[in-house]
């Protein structure tokens, strides 16, 4: 095989173009290496333009090659998009977090990929660039072709960065997962929320759970039921019931039954919602 470490985005795109579909983008390699290396690899892990975390006005841009470790310890992400920091901190192990990237997490398209679930709750969009230099911006939900299958063709397209609105003064986000142990185990369930409060009641809610469908799944009914409600114990219990009733999930012989998964989604939905609310209240108090 041939291995090419790109020094710039243009160089990476050129190599992809000349390889005519035979070369594949590689970032941290934590997914690709075990699946099998392509005959030509174009390594984009150290491209500076893909490794940046920048705030521009009310938006945060996170480069596709930002590692989970970098995202989890970024003060900007911790303060303005706590759900993403929590999700990245939960991935694998320190060693995997030092290699694995946010872009790779998304394109690998595992149904309960931690970073992807948090990004979906934050309302992130992906910025892509193809070999002809054409850029487009896509909703995360549009990037899934099926279970573990991305619509992104990494032989002719590169994810550059993820952009989303930062959490404002009245907004908060949170992420939680349940797995058999804390390190090195894939989640049975992961849930993330982003909330906005106005006059003490929910004015905006995005609640995302996985694995439910191939892509991280918004729980629209539960979200809607929350609008106008006060965040309190009663609301939390309501969310628990609504969220587990809303999802149709599959069980897995290895990890957990469908009933258990549904139960967990309810419990975690209640928890992340209240954790996100607490983040807003903390800002108001300080």
């Amino acid at each position: 095989m041939s291995y090419f470490t790109a020094a710039s985005l243009d160089e990476a795109l050129n190599v992809l173009r000349e390889a005519k579909g035979k070369a594949l983008i590689i970032a941290g390699a934590t997914d690709l290496f075990l699946k099998g290396m392509p005959s030509q690899a174009v390594d984009i892990a150290s491209l500076p333009e893909l490794g940046m975390i920048v705030e521009e006005q009310d938006y945060l841009s996170v480069g596709a090659a930002v590692t989970h470790a970098a995202a989890a310890s970024s003060p900007l992400i911790m303060v303005k998009a706590a759900a993403l920091a929590e999700a990245c901190a939960a991935v694998g192990s320190p060693q995997v977090r030092n290699l694995g990237t946010i872009g790779g997490n998304l394109v690998n398209a595992a149904p309960a990929a931690d970073a992807a679930v948090a990004l979906a709750a934050l309302g992130a969009k992906a910025v892509l660039c193809d070999i002809d230099g054409r850029r487009r911006v896509e909703e995360l939900g549009n990037l899934y072709a099926g279970y573990n299958q991305s619509r992104i063709d990494s032989s002719r397209e590169i994810v550059l960065n993820l952009i989303f609105k930062t959490c404002q003064f009245n907004e908060g986000s949170a992420f939680a997962r349940f797995a058999s142990r804390r390190a090195l185990s894939l989640p049975m369930v992961n849930v993330a929320a982003r909330v906005g409060l106005e006059n003490g009641v929910f004015a905006e809610v995005r609640l995302v759970a996985a694995p439910v469908k191939p892509a991280p799944t918004r729980l629209f009914k539960t979200e809607e039921a929350l609008l106008g409600k006060e965040p309190n114990e009663e609301t939390r219990q309501m969310v628990e019931e609504l969220a587990s009733a809303e999802v149709k999930v599959r069980g897995s012989l290895l990890r957990c039954s469908a009933d258990y998964r549904r139960h967990l989604i309810g419990v975690l939905a209640g928890r992340v919602l209240m954790a996100a609310v607490r983040r807003v209240q903390d800002k108001e108090e300080s």
């Binding site: 095989m1 390699a29 075990l34 690899a41």
Partner: protein, 169 residues
């Protein structure tokens, strides 16, 4: 299999080898460079026995394609002592009984080494987290955590002594 020329720094020494870039860094180190401290436990990122430090970060060498190592700075346990005496981490592991069969030990120590480079005075929780990607089948983690805390203290005392000495001179 295509063979390519790969150059990197291994424990501060430049090495150049000819290898398949799709080979794992772990196999490269063990089979071609005779660097036997990284161990192959699972070969899939789940046990940490193969942990090495790549540009300052602990990584699973079984997941790193050789091609990625090119131009990088790689440190294994062979490169953490000064060649005269063992590193405080190594000494603490022996003294605290943190080694039984030893299969996990070099990986554990490399994870600890990366932690102490970034955070010289870690809390117990931070030590636990730093070695959460390293499995030990024998010794239990208590002695390992103790060894890392002890080494951190010793290294900090050495630093203080060094500064005091400098100030006197």
């Amino acid at each position: 299999m295509d063979i390519g020329k790969i150059t990197f720094l291994l424990n501060d020494e430049p090495v150049t080898i000819y290898a398949d870039p799709a080979e794992s860094l772990l196999h490269l180190l063990r089979d071609q460079l005779g660097c036997m401290s990284p161990k192959e436990g699972c070969g899939r990122g789940e046990c940490g026995a193969c942990t090495v430090i790549l540009d300052g970060k602990a990584v699973n060498s079984c997941l790193v394609p050789a091609g990625k190592a090119a131009g990088k700075n790689i440190r294994t346990i062979e490169g953490i002592s000064d060649g005269k005496s063992v590193h405080p981490l190594q000494r603490a592991f022996v003294e605290k009984g943190a080694v039984q069969c030893g299969f996990c030990t070099s990986g554990m120590i490399m994870s600890a080494y990366a932690l102490l480079a970034e955070n010289p005075a870690p809390r117990q929780e931070e030590v636990k987290r730093a070695i959460s990607g390293n499995l030990c089948r024998c010794s239990g983690y208590k002695q390992i955590e103790e060894a890392i805390m002890t080494a951190a203290e010793e290294m900090n005392e050495n630093r203080v002594r060094f500064v005091e000495k400098e100030q006197k001179e």
